[in-house]
């Protein structure tokens, strides 16, 4: 107890040195702690998402791109599949199907065109408002609403895919009709709308005023006036004029979530699409993301090795600091000896000081680990999935 009193007095007296040593210890210890925390949390987040999504379908290509896009709305856009595949899976009778169209952004948040089934499937609760029910309506994830400070009754405008995209996409105003309760998943960061709305953004569907006839061809076809206006907003007045062109089977779908009715259905579906000649690929997100996490953990093992080396170097530095401070404390140690201190008195004192420093450093590192866990969510996904 008295030794602890003296140790603390020494550390307090040399507080700058103590602080530096505590920080150094904390830094060294926090690297493995923080990375472990990040990885654990990210693994939970990512695998939880993957686990709740039994099957994904999309165009043949990178399975990982498909999974990351469909699960976390990030990364490279995989080649689009089509509604034909959606219908095919529906008609197979083995699964419920949820199409996802993830290509456009509004105010920096991904616009996820999907069906109401997605909202049911993820079990969303509403903070305010209701689900989208008409084209042009959108529902915001909790974080999007918070970040942009918008809510029901307000609107967002989609961004052109790139500046040079002059052909198809007029920015479309999305009317916010609902805000989701926070879920702690990537859904918080997305804007949900009916997939038909996404198609309108893409230029597949459009609306205009009632055709202003410029003339009627001899075969009876009405020639529309060139001054036909393209709407950037879907209103009650013009909604009915919105329509889609081309064969609905060809409408693009980024990814398709399939919810097989049972294990047998799942096996049959997988078997059906596993042929590499099939333009559609089918993936099970769970093992895929598991593999990704395994790679991350392999990377973590390398990082840990680096940390060990750095820690050894730091230990040497710490040893040197202790040695030098002992040199400086020779007079004090000698005084204690002269005053009759026990043989181990000074050793005990120095050891206790080190122990206190290490404990404080470790405590700080632990706090850093805790704090980092609070910050992950988004961060981790962006680490794992290269952002756009």
């Amino acid at each position: 107890m008295t030794s602890l009193y003296l140790a603390l007095a020494y550390l307090r007296h040399h507080w700058i040195k103590s602080l530096i040593m505590v920080l150094a210890t904390a830094l060294i210890l926090s690297v493995p702690l923080v990375t472990q925390g990040l990885l654990d949390r990210s693994q939970n987040l990512m695998t939880a998402r993957a686990e709740t999504t039994p099957l994904l379908l999309g165009r043949q290509g990178s399975a990982l791109d498909l999974a990351i896009k469909a699960l976390y709305f990030r990364g490279q856009s995989p080649q689009a599949s089509s509604m034909a595949t959606v219908d095919e899976v529906w008609d197979s009778g083995y699964a419920d199907v949820i199409p996802l169209h993830i290509r456009y952004f509004a105010s920096g948040a991904p616009v996820v065109g999907t069906s109401l089934d997605y909202l049911d499937f993820r079990g969303f609760a509403f903070q305010s408002g209701r689900a989208f029910s008409l084209i042009g309506e959108a529902v915001l994830g909790a974080k999007v609403a918070e970040r942009l400070g918008v809510g029901v009754g307000q609107s967002l405008v989609t961004q052109p895919e790139n500046l040079f995209d002059l052909t198809a996409t007029y920015p479309l105003q999305l009317d916010i009709v609902g805000v989701l309760a926070p879920t702690g998943t990537p859904d918080d960061t997305a804007i949900f709308t009916d997939i038909k709305t996404s198609w309108i953004v893409q230029g597949i569907g459009h609306g205009h005023d009632d055709v202003i006839a410029a003339g009627v061809r001899p075969d009876g076809v009405v020639i529309a006036n060139a001054a036909q206006r393209q709407f950037a907003r879907i209103t009650d007045q013009n909604r009915a004029s919105f329509h889609f062109h081309g064969d609905p089977e060809t409408y693009p779908v980024t990814a398709i979530i399939a919810l097989p009715y049972d294990h047998k259905s799942q096996t049959i579906l997988r078997g059906f699409y596993q042929n590499p000649d099939n333009p559609t690929q089918i993936i099970q997100p769970r093992p895929l993301i598991g593999q990704l996490m395994d790679n991350l953990f392999r990377f973590k093992a390398i990082l840990d090795a680096v940390v060990v080396v750095v820690a050894i170097a730091a230990l040497f530095a710490l040893g040197l600091a202790v040695y030098l401070s002992l040199q400086l404390r020779q007079p004090e140690i000698r005084t204690n000896y002269q005053l009759g201190a026990g043989r181990w008195f000074s050793v005990k004192l120095v050891a206790l000081e080190l122990l206190v420093l290490l404990a404080m450093g470790a405590g700080l590192a632990w706090l850093a680990g805790l704090a980092s866990e609070q910050l992950v969510g988004e961060l981790v996904v962006s680490l794992v999935a290269p952002s756009l």
């Binding site: 029910s133 076809v221 009915a240």
Partner: protein, 290 residues
């Protein structure tokens, strides 16, 4: 004694709550038009709640529901669509595909072309509303639609299969009878050229061999000169003998038809009515003779 009474009262309350919550748990079925709603009621009976959301007097095919109307429809356990592009609002709305039933899906090969609206974008013509959509006026298609509803009731709402099948049997019997009546009408009308006051009878005409062309009259309203001109043009091309109205026509419409030398009959497609579909159709078909 008081205690026992109190307990008895509590028990009653609990029972009442159980009954009412059970009642609230009845699956909700939304049908886009009255014929489908009628079929649904016949097939589901007391086990379900059926609504047809278009307000009274509105044509369900052209009704434009608000977002809130759709939000109500989204709550339905099953939404019965007519198919063939019927109800313009359907493509604008977000509905759960898993809860949609395209009742005429099995009759896709029997869809008939409708009144095409065509417009061009930079020279590429495209058509809207390619199919005529009053499919139930071909009672064989109507029978398939009833069957599709019955299947959905059994599979998706898990209604008692034997009850649904029994109801389907009688309903299909009724529809077969209508089919017979329509056939008789078709035969009786051989040699009679018909004009539909509105393009709503494609399936009836095609299925039962009726010679029918269409104009665009609002039968319940005053007939304009333009309306008369279009009929005159039709008559000039090839004279017709009889006109079919969706509703009892206005005096002005009756006079206009008579001026053009046409008799008239009323055949309501029954898109928005609480009336008994079978009874209504039977009555309309029986009076459909030259």
């Amino acid at each position: 004694m008081v205690l026992a009474l109190r307990h008895g009262f509590l028990l009653l309350l609990v029972l009442a709550a159980g009954v009412s919550s059970h009642a609230a748990a009845k699956p909700l079925v939304v049908a886009v038009n009255s014929p489908l709603a009628y079929f649904a009621k016949r097939l589901g009976g007391d086990a379900i709640q059926v609504t047809m959301p278009a307000p009274e007097g509105e044509d369900p095919a052209y009704w434009e529901p608000s977002g809130e109307d759709i939000a109500d429809i989204q709550k339905a356990d099953l939404v019965l669509l007519n198919g063939a592009g019927y109800a313009k609002w359907v493509p604008q709305a977000s509905l759960r595909r898993s809860r949609l039933v395209d009742t005429s899906a099995k009759a896709k090969d029997r869809y008939l072309p409708g009144d095409a609206e065509v417009h061009t974008h930079g020279g590429n013509a495209h058509e809207h509303g390619v199919f005529a959509s009053n499919t139930w006026l071909d009672f064989k298609i109507a029978s398939l639609q009833a069957e599709a509803i019955a299947t959905a009731f059994k599979r998706k709402l898990k209604l008692d299969a034997s009850q649904v099948d029994a109801a389907l049997g009688t309903l299909q019997g009724d529809l077969a009878a209508l089919n017979g009546l329509a056939k008789q009408a078709g035969e009786a009308l051989q040699g009679t050229a018909l004009v539909g006051s509105h393009p709503v009878y494609h399936y009836l005409a095609a299925a039962y061999g009726m010679d029918m062309r269409f104009i665009h009259w609002e039968a319940a309203e005053t007939i304009t000169e333009e309306n008369e001109a279009s009929l005159a043009a039709l008559q000039a091309e090839r004279p017709a003998d009889m006109m079919l109205f969706e509703f009892p026509p206005s005096a002005s419409a009756v006079q206009a038809a008579e001026r053009a030398g046409l008799r008239y009959r009323v055949l309501d497609p029954m898109v928005n009515t609480d009336a008994d579909f079978i009874q209504g159709m039977r009555d309309a078909l029986t009076q459909l003779k030259p």
